[in-house]
Structures are given as C-alpha cells and as structure tokens.
C-alpha cells in the first residue's frame, strides 16, 4: 500500500511527465514533426493511421506495443526503395528539442528511418525526457548497456544549399511521432 506521501510524489512525477510531453509536442511541431498521444491499447491503430502507402519497419522492442500487420519487417533493398513509410522505435525523446533518439541495430532501423519519404517513430511516454542533459545521462547508460549507434532525429531531412529551405533531401520529408502512454493515467 502506498502511503499518502508516496502518492503525492507519484502525482508530482506524473505532472512533470505531462509537462515534458506537452513541451515535446510543441517543440516537435516547431521542427515540423507531427505528434500523436495515445493510450497503449490504441497504439497500433495510431501507427497505422500515421502510415502513408506501403510501409517497412523494424520490430518494436516494446512488450506492449506491436506494429500493424501491414508493416513489412526485415525489408529487402527493393522494399526500402519503394516504401512510402518507415516505422521504428525511439529509445527516448527530448522534450526541449522535439527530438527522438533512434537506436540503429542489425534490425535495419537505420535505412528504415532514412529511405522512405515518411518516417514514423514510436516512443513510450515514460521515455520523454525534459532536456538534453537528462537525455545524455540516459544515453550514457544505454551505451554502458551495449547500445552503439543512435541517431537523434529532429524533423525531416532538409537543406538550405539550393538557395532556399527544402525539406526531404537524402532522408524523409515528413516525420511523425507516436507517443504511447503505458501508465493508463493519460494526460
């Protein structure tokens, strides 16, 4: 049984999480990233909604969230070249920047999140960290535990090199992030 005090701390933590998620969504919007916040039971449906055309993906490392069936995992080169959407998990998100951190493993998260014109990233609400300093503490722990390669993604690929800003260069032109609430508390 939690004491009253524990309960108050839980509420405080929850309030902090809510604030981080709101801040993340605002920063992401500024970085031209669409965000959707869903309870865990609607996560697969929300991912499906964010997908444009044919989709490739890397299996999500979450116990409670699975990819929609239409997403082709372990894609071939051709799958990657023709897919309209690529779905991967994010290890965490950084609220102040609207950034998602995509780990790259042998499961092809790298090309899946890079080649198709629409990128969908799935992050758990509890992994939305308030700022870069916190994010780097988490990153250092992940590296200690064997993570090797991580890409911080903040918005679609872009260039100013052709005389004015263009989105969609060697990477996606649209990015969508699904934030999954696994606590059942919502915001």
């Amino acid at each position: 049984m939690p004491t009253t005090n524990d309960h108050a701390i839980d509420e405080l933590d929850h309030a902090r999480d809510v604030q981080a998620i709101q801040r993340f969504r605002e920063a992401a919007a500024n970085a031209h990233v669409e965000t959707t916040y869903v309870p865990v039971e609607r996560a697969t449906e929300a991912i499906a909604d964010a997908i444009e055309g044919d989709a490739v993906g890397s299996t999500l490392p979450f116990e409670t969230v699975t990819l929609p069936e239409k997403v082709r995992t372990d894609p071939t080169d051709d799958d990657l070249r023709t897919a309209q959407t690529g779905v991967t998990a994010a290890a965490f998100a950084i609220a102040s920047y609207g950034t998602v951190a995509i780990p790259m493993t042998e499961h092809k998260e790298g090309p899946v999140s890079l080649f198709p014109p629409t990128q969908v990233a799935v992050v758990l609400a509890r992994d939305v960290h308030p700022d870069m300093a916190t994010a780097f503490e988490v990153l250092a722990r992940l590296f200690d535990d064997g993570t090797k390669d991580v890409i911080f993604v903040t918005g679609p690929s872009s260039t100013g090199d052709m005389g004015s800003l263009v989105r969609g260069v060697h990477g996606p032109e649209a990015v969508s992030v699904i934030i999954v609430d696994t606590t059942g508390e919502g915001i």
Binding site: N30, A31, T76, D77, L80, Y97, T99, M104, T105, E106, K108, E109, G110, P111, L114, M132, A133, A135, F136, E137, L139, A140, F143, K148, D149, V150, I151, F152, V153, T154, G155, P156, S157, S158, T159, G160, D161, M162, G163, S164, L165, V166, G168, V169, H170, G171, P172
Partner: protein, 732 residues
C-alpha cells in the same frame, strides 16, 4: 612600388567580390546571424553556462590530448576499427588511398568534411584514378563549379538559387531546365542516390570524437552522411585530432551549442556512431564485412597545441558564428578572406596552424578587431586576439623598405618588417601631437590635393576620407587653463582618460565629460594624454601596445589604489583596459585597471543610481538616433547610455548593425574603402530611416563614418547631456 600594386589588386578583388557574391553572402549570413541571436537568446542564462562548460571541456581535452588519442585508439581498435594518426596531408592521403586501393575502390562517396578539404583528399583520390563524389548538396555545387568553399558550414553560401540552377542546367543539361530549390534538390538527390549505392567507400568527417566509447558524432541536416555510412562496407572517417572529447556526456553542451551558433536550433540529424556500425550494408544481399578506419589528422595541430597563442584555435568547433557575425564577412564573403581552406574569423588561426603564416597573411587585415565575434563563439575564443597575434607575426616576417626614413615619426618597439602605413596608423599619437602643435597649418597642408594623392599613393590612405582636423588648443590645455569649480565632499574621484582623439581632435566631448561629471559631484582629474596602445595593437604591433600599456599602468596604478575611478569617453580605449590588457599586462596590473574603468555614460548611470542629482544635466524630449560602438556592445556598456538618455527624457532609437564599417584605420585604407562603405550602407539605411532625429555616436571612427555616410556629424552622448547645452550656450 610593389606594395601599391598589391593594394590595387586587393582593391580590385574586393570590388569584384562585392559585385559578384556580396548580395547573396549578405542575405545568407545576416539571416543566420539574426537566427543565432534569437536562438541563443531563448536559452537565457543557460547559454553562458553551456559556453563555460564547453570551454572548460575543450581546455581539458586539449591539455590531455595525447592521452585522449591513446584511449580513443584503444577503444576504436577494441570495437573492430583501425586508427591512423597522420602527421600531415600527404601522410593522410597516402593512408586513405591505400585503404581505397586495398578494397579495390573505384569511387568514394563523401559527406561534408572541411578537414578533407584541408587535406585535398579529392585531388589525391583522383590522382590515383578514384572518383570522389561529394554528397552534401553545398559541397556538390562547389565541386561542380570547381570552386573553393566560402564558408565553414555553407560551402556554397555565396551562390544564389539562380546561379545554382544555371550551373546545373549547363553541367547536366536536364530534359527540363531546373529552376526552383525543390527541383534542384530532387535532381541532386536522384543524381547522387545511385552513386552512393554504387560506391565502394563512404567517407565522413566527424564533428566530435568520444574517447571512452570510440564513437563519432556527425551533425547534419540532409541525411547524406547517414546514407554514406549505411550504404558502404568501408567507412573512412577523417578528423583533426582536436575533435576528441573524453566522455559521451561531455558531448551534450556541444550538441546544444553547435546548431544554435550556426543559426539553427538543432540539426535534423545528430548521428552518434560507434563504427563499424551494426546496420547491415545495403544492398543487403551483397553485404560483406564492415570495416572502419579513423584517420586522425595532426597536420600542424600538435604544434598549435604547443603554441601559447594558437592553442585556443584548437577549441574551435567550426560552427561559423564568427563568420556570420563579422560585418566584413557578411558583405564580401569567404572568398575575400583568402586562406587555402579556412576563411574568415577563426580561420586565421587555422590557416596559420595548418598551412602557415603566408596563407593567413593575405587578408588578415579584414579582421578589424571590432570584437563582435567574441561573445558569439560557443567556446569563447578571443578571435580578434588571434588575428592580432598573427598580424604581429606577419609584420615581423616582412622585409620593410622605407622604414628608416620615418623613425622620428614612428617611435615604436617593432622590428624592421613593418609597412610604412602600419607604422603611421600605429603611431597616430605622434602624428596627432605634431598636427595639433602646428594646426591649422598642418590641417591645411594635409588636405591639399597633392598631399592626399601622395598619401594615397605611398601610404594607401584613401583620398575620399576626411582627415582628422587637429585642434591647436588641446583638451588638456583647456582643462589646465580653466577655473576649476570647488566640489565640496565629492561623491567620487575620477580621472578622466583623454584619448588621442578627444585630446587633439574632438575636444568638445572632453569638455562635456568634465562638466557633466563635476555637475554630478565628481572631482575630476585628467590622466596624462597618451595612447592606450589601441592604434598600434590594431596594426598588430604588440610590443608597442604592450609598452604603452605599461606606461599607462605606471601612470594610473597609484591613483586607482587611492580609490579613484578611471573614466573613458572613447569605447575602443575602454576595451583596451577591460579586455586587451589581459593579454598585455601581468594579471594583477590588468585587474587593477580593468576593475576600475568605466565608460563615461556607464559611470553617469552608476552615479545617478547612487543618488547623484541630475538637475544640472541637459534633459529634453528631443528625438535621438543612437549608434553604439561595436566594442562597447561587446562589453555590454551601450545599454547604460540608452538608459541615461531615456531617464533624462530623450526619445532614443538605436541602430542595429554589427559594425559601422570604419573600424579605426580600416576604412581609411584605400583598398578597403569600397568594403568599408558597403558595410556602412546598412547603417546608412537605418540612419536615413531615423528621419530628422539628432544623430548620436560614442566612437570616434563611427562618427567619421557616419559623417561620410550621411553628411552629418553625430555628437557623443556625453555632449547630449552636457550641462552647458542646457544653458543654451554653444559649446565652442
């Protein structure tokens, strides 16, 4: 007449660039500069904390560089990669080409890397028959145009969309001519995609290297660096040895600062990779074993580390804030700043370190010491100081010809290699004394047409510039001869510093300062009028400036110890005391001077805050247009001027430019006159927009420039509030 030919060539080159590249460079750099101010502003107090942390991490890292190289090497090798420390460009290229040869490479795809530009890797590859393909769109443009990068971050930033379209349409002859940025981008991507896939080696730079994990960080927007790495079995990363940070967590402040400093809150991608990366290589069915080669480039860096003055350059993270905030760079772009690879701002340090003094020498003059870049650098490098040091070394390496003729006019502590013009500007104090003693004849003689032609021909002093008009009665003469008011129980005691201009030329602002301070209950003494060393320092004459600094310290140390403050009318001299003397004087001597020095309006502000009665000051609701001095803004003391004027009822509008373009002697130099006026044009627009507001400026050279720009001589803010003005008397 060798020097005149060079001057003429320089002038022609600058004119050409102003016409061809100036507008596009200005549009892009001023956009990035404004964006940077906004983005770092959003950080509030965190900005300084991040900068302090980044600075101390870099100081530590460079201090322990040999250890870091060792740790990084061990880690990369443990991860399955190879490390090669290349002594110089030839050594690096030799290794790179041999790796390419080993894998039978026919082509190498590259993401943007200034270090590979420094090494001229592409040429080395082409020489052995390997195609080098730049995949960053800016680099691709430069490669097709066969030009050198003009900017650290945006190599093709001097090219407009129309020019790029023309270039692509000529080079590729597409079915439909390309026009929009979207069309150009799509075309470039489709052109590059098969090349990236077909290549045998992917080459990247590294923005940062992490010793403890053997990782590298790539900060990019386009996604090409990711593709280059993911699509090729062999990954070669080329990076200067200075890029190493000890731990992953120490990367954090740099990631927060690098994008913002370049004018973007954060880039689309920050790849933190520990190669060989785990991702399978595309195409998957042909995928072989991944291999990774880290080429750590010394190429002069270890020597820079041992060089007390150049060492700071190694802290540079190549964000380009110093370029974008440089008024001269904004107007004429990187192609004017010379240098074999790096250009503008901190490039002076890089070029001197990696390519040698001659490479840095060509356009070192373009740093006017305005100091606007100093607060913009995320690792707090004193970039103007590095430019001054290099200028001093250049002076010492030249061989002079006329010098002996002018020894009397140039009582400096410099060796023989200094040009006559540098000596003249650097010893302006002597000239001013002489000019004042013989005024008005000196003014009349100096302004005769034949004198101006001679001055332009021999000295390169542009004849279109008005020369300072020396006053026969100096400020000090006036101060000594007047009847001094008796101030009972003075609020403070101040020694007013009579800079050369105030003493010999703009005497009125000195008088106004004395009257103002006395009216506020300050007992005013005058310091001995002597140069702070600003003029010699701006010519790179460090020994002379140091000698001046010592004399000044000897003059003032006792007075300051007795509790007297030092007050300045000229911001560039205040900046000597509070900033440059740190480099010229022993620590304690510097601190004594710096801690007790004030801009005159900053001082007035302090007096009013502490209860001084402004009743006698000239208060009015007059509309003013105030242009503060560049160094004053770097020191953050311009705000006091505005506060005092507003407190007294004035309606103050302020200019918003990095620099007026004159910057001491810079605008007088014939080869830089066009650039100086081009920079000034921005200020001119703002002054014209201000309508009939009275023009006010704090700096002498700003005053001269504004007079040349709009034909109206601004007054110093101290003259605005001068009690004499209140009495309705003219201050002649």
């Amino acid at each position: 007449m060798k020097s005149n030919t060079t001057r003429e060539e320089t002038r022609a080159h600058i004119r050409h660039l102003l016409a061809e590249e100036g507008d596009t460079v200005f549009e892009n750099t001023s956009y990035l500069n404004d964006a940077r101010y906004e983005l770092v502003g959003e950080l509030g107090a965190d900005y300084d904390r991040l900068k302090d942390r980044a600075r101390s991490i870099k100081e530590e890292a460079i201090e322990h560089l040999p250890d870091l190289i060792e740790t990084l090497t061990e880690r990369v090798e443990a991860n399955g990669g190879t490390v090669y420390v290349a002594e110089d460009a030839a050594d690096a290229n030799q290794y790179i080409t041999s790796v390419c040869d080993d894998v039978g490479a026919e082509s190498v795809v590259k993401s943007k890397s200034m270090t590979t530009e420094e090494l001229e890797v592409n040429d080395a590859l082409e020489a052995v028959g390997i195609e080098a393909v730049e995949t960053d769109l800016g680099e691709m443009v430069i490669q097709i145009a066969d030009e050198a990068p003009s900017h650290l971050v945006g190599p093709g930033l001097h090219k407009s969309r129309t020019e790029i379209a023309e270039l692509f349409n000529t080079h590729f002859d597409p079915d439909e001519p390309l026009e929009t940025a979207e069309e150009l981008t799509e075309f470039a991507r489709d052109h590059l995609a098969p090349k990236i896939e077909a290549a045998d080696v992917g080459m990247t730079g590294a923005n940062f290297l992490i010793a403890e994990t053997g990782s590298l960080a790539l900060v990019t927007n386009e996604g090409n660096a990711r593709k280059v790495v993911e699509s090729n079995d062999t990954h070669i990363a080329v990076a200067g040895i200075e890029k190493i940070l000890p731990t992953l967590e120490e990367l954090q402040p740099f990631i927060e600062l690098i994008g913002r400093s370049a004018g973007q809150s954060t880039t689309a991608y920050t790849s933190i990779l520990t190669p060989p990366v785990a991702t399978p290589t595309m195409p998957f069915d042909e995928g072989g074993e991944r291999s990774f080669h880290l080429v750590l480039v010394d190429n002069g860096r270890m020597a820079m580390r041992d060089d007390e003055q150049l060492r700071e350059t190694l802290y540079c993270i190549r964000c380009s804030a110093c370029l974008n905030s440089c008024a001269n760079f904004q107007h004429v772009g990187g192609h004017a700043f010379g240098g074999e690879t790096y250009t503008g701002g901190i490039a002076t340090g890089w070029e001197t370190g990696v390519h040698g003094l001659e490479s840095a020498a060509e356009f070192n003059d373009l740093c006017t010491g305005c100091s606007r870049c100093v607060n913009q650098c995320p690792v707090k490098i004193d970039i103007p100081w590095i430019n001054t040091v290099v200028r001093d070394r250049i002076n010492r390496s030249d061989t002079g010809t006329f010098d002996f003729l002018y020894e009397g006019l140039t009582p400096d502590a410099e060796s023989g290699g200094l040009s006559l013009r540098k000596r003249l500007f650097g010893n302006f104090e002597t000239l001013a004394k002489l000019g004042s003693a013989t005024a008005p004849v000196s003014n009349w003689l100096a302004n005769r047409r034949e004198s101006r032609l001679l001055a332009e021909h021999v000295l390169g002093v542009d004849r279109r510039r008005a020369l300072p008009e020396f006053q026969r009665t100096t400020f000090r003469d006036w101060f000594r001869s007047r009847e001094r008011p008796i101030i009972e129980e003075p609020m403070r005691r101040a020694v007013l510093y009579p800079d050369i201009y105030t003493n010999y030329v703009s005497v009125e602002r000195g008088k106004a300062a004395v009257r103002t301070l006395e009216s506020l209950g300050v007992e005013v003494e005058l310091a001995t009028p002597r140069s702070t060393g600003r003029e010699p320092l701006s010519q790179g004459m460090i020994s002379t400036a140091t000698e001046r600094a010592r004399l000044i310290h000897a003059d003032l140390a006792d007075t300051i110890d007795e509790g007297t403050d030092v007050v300045f009318i000229e911001p560039s001299d205040l900046a000597m005391f509070t900033d440059d003397y740190e480099k010229l004087l022993p620590k304690e001597a510097y601190q004594t001077l710096a801690e007790n020095s004030y801009d005159v309006l900053e001082y007035v502000y302090g007096l009013l805050e502490n209860g001084a009665d402004p009743a006698e000051l000239s208060a009015d609701d007059e509309s003013l247009m105030y242009h503060s001095h560049c160094q004053q803004r770097t020191l953050g003391v311009n705000t006091h001027t505005v506060a005092v004027l507003e407190e007294l009822g004035y309606d103050v509008m302020t200019s918003n430019v990095e620099c007026c373009g004159m910057a001491g002697s810079f605008g007088y130099k014939s080869e830089y006159y066009d650039l100086s006026m081009d920079v000034g044009d921005e200020l001119r627009g703002q002054l014209v927009e201000a309508g009939d507001r009275r023009l006010v400026a704090s700096g002498t050279s700003c005053t001269d420039q504004i007079d040349d720009l709009v034909g109206e001589n601004p007054i110093h803010p101290i003259e605005v509030i001068d009690p004499e003005r209140r009495k309705g008397e003219t201050t002649t």
